[in-house]
Amino acid sequence: MGRSFLFMLVIFVLAIFAISGLMSRALSAAGESQQGGSLEIGRDVYHVRCAPCHGHEGKGDGPYAMTLNPRPRDFTLGMYEYRSTESGSLPTDEDLKRAITKGLPGTAMPAWGKFLQGDTLEAVVAHLKTFSSRFGSEQPLPVPVGREVPSSPASIEAGRVVYEKLQCASCHGTDGRGTGATATDFQNASGLPIQMRDLTEPWTFRGGSSARDVYLRFRTGLDGTPMPSYVGAVSDREMWQLAVYIVSLGRKPAWEMNEQELIAFYRSQERLVSNDPAKWGKYLVEGMGCADCHTPLDGKGGNIESLRLAGGTRFTAGPYGEFVTPNLTSDTATGLGGWSDEEIRNALTKGVRRDGTRMLPFPMPWTALARLKTEEQNAIIAYLRTVPPIHNEIPRPKPLSFFPYLWGKFKMLVLKEDFPAEIFPGNAGTLKGGQQ
């Protein structure tokens, strides 16, 4: 009986005030385009399709940017990873078009080819180039692509030797998957964390997975990352051999495996969960979007990055009163630092707070988290312990007083009004200054 009422929470009202800020810009841009001109068309398309992640000023800071791993490119640096040009040089228009139309595998960047073609595509490229002054003063320097080395046991072996010679294993590991890597924490030119590529998963190669694509990465380097150009260090032929070797490392993706391979694959994944729980926990936390609610909203449709996972987003949930998302950082006084594993697990999987009070089965999806395997719950807990502490004290939930509560229930159960849940921007916790 009670269950039916609870599940009346099915009506979810999200209030994002400040998305309107984002909108009004797109609008003014749309208005101006009446005068024509390809730059205006490019800007219109950019504001609609690109700005949600890359930001209106191209800084890679759009409202959706914080949640994404890897982050969207910052165009203002004029620095691009996947090019066919010399290290440090600008990309060609064709390079930019390739990224736009084919997308970047393994990232949120979609293949826009179906929707952006011809003049529109040219216009978007032209608009992208306005973000960096480098495009006004420099010319891209395309690299000469040497003679391709065909794949053969001999060339693969030669490539393996180059892999050792260039010490690729210090970052990519002896097996291409990072095993035994000595360097593990990397940043890009914007200071954002990046991951080294798992060389056994060619379907995640941003710039493509053919030998020629891989060769280009060695020839041009990935500007803005620790991956340099190897021109000069080894011969062109050796770079081709290395490319052939890397291509040979590729394993089958799960969706192409047979039964035995799949069983082994999922088993190895389980081992990964127990061997490095914090790493797996990061995957789970990022893949569940915990930070979407547990980071205050900035009022422009995005989250306040400096307060990631520090809680402080205020919700109202109809007659049930008001809640503020808890601080999930490892801060001892205000975060999860002082909680025991069992206390965190109870909140995650039973919706029971540390003081014993119960959470609604919404918006915190503890009913779903309860179905996680124990090892994965442990992994989430292990990762949350590694989140840098932020001192942000969260107010206790505020139930409504008697009469508003009755009135709310009456509206919901008798008048069958939509369940009024709302979410508000800004930090409702004690930490000031994070609010923008």
Partner: protein, 202 residues
């Protein structure tokens, strides 16, 4: 006599009213329900995948089922008048209102060919999970459908979800498209993210 009857009537009526409000106050007693009772119904409602004859397809779909159950797809994609209607498991229909923006209704994820994902290709579904791009080119709002989180999954996990969705029970349920709130500035703003398709514009 009539006077007494009147007073009895008033007393009964006020008892009914007070009783009704007390009833409202104590129901739903969600705190008296053990947490497990919130968890179990969906586990029972989710399709069993034992019938899939191709073992590798079954393994992929099992992984997808685990992901779908633990990432609460059903929290938004199973609606109902009085609690989730598990006969329409993952068939959509839940209303989400974003203030100043418009109303979207969660989509039908079942393999029904007319109203669900039946005639969507794997690539089209993957583009939504990875990039929030619908097959007509519109971008989804990540506060309504949290694709920015699903984007962080491995491609292998996303494909497992797609494999699972293919084995749901098809449910015919037409879902209305996103509607803006109607005020002039709002509908234009909505166009900026939900409706605009500049690919044909010259």
């Amino acid at each position: 006599m009539r006077r007494a009857l009147k007073w009895i009537g008033i007393a009964v009526l006020s008892l009914v009213v007070v009783g009704f409000f007390l009833f409202l106050y104590y129901i739903p007693p969600f705190t008296s329900m053990p947490p497990e009772e919130f968890v179990k119904p969906e586990l029972d409602a989710a399709p069993t995948l034992d019938g899939i004859s191709d073992p590798r397809e079954r393994l992929l779909a099992e992984r997808g089922k685990y992901l779908a159950l633990t990432h609460d797809c059903s929290g938004c994609h199973t609606a109902g008048d009085n609690g989730p209607d598990y006969d329409k498991y993952l068939a959509g229909g839940m209303k989400h209102v974003v203030r100043g923006y418009g109303t979207s209704v969660s989509r039908n994820l079942t393999p029904d060919t007319e109203t669900g994902l039946g005639n969507h290709t794997d690539e089209e579904i993957l583009a939504v999970l990875r990039s929030g791009v619908m097959r007509d080119g519109r971008l989804m709002h990540s506060r309504v459908m949290p694709w920015t989180a699903w984007s962080n999954w491995t491609e292998e996990d996303r494909r497992a979800i797609v494999a699972y969705l293919r084995h749901l029970k098809p449910v015919r349920q037409q879902i209305p498209d996103f509607t803006s709130l109607g005020a002039p500035q709002d509908s234009a703003a909505v166009e900026a993210i939900w409706g605009a398709d500049y690919s044909v514009k010259k």
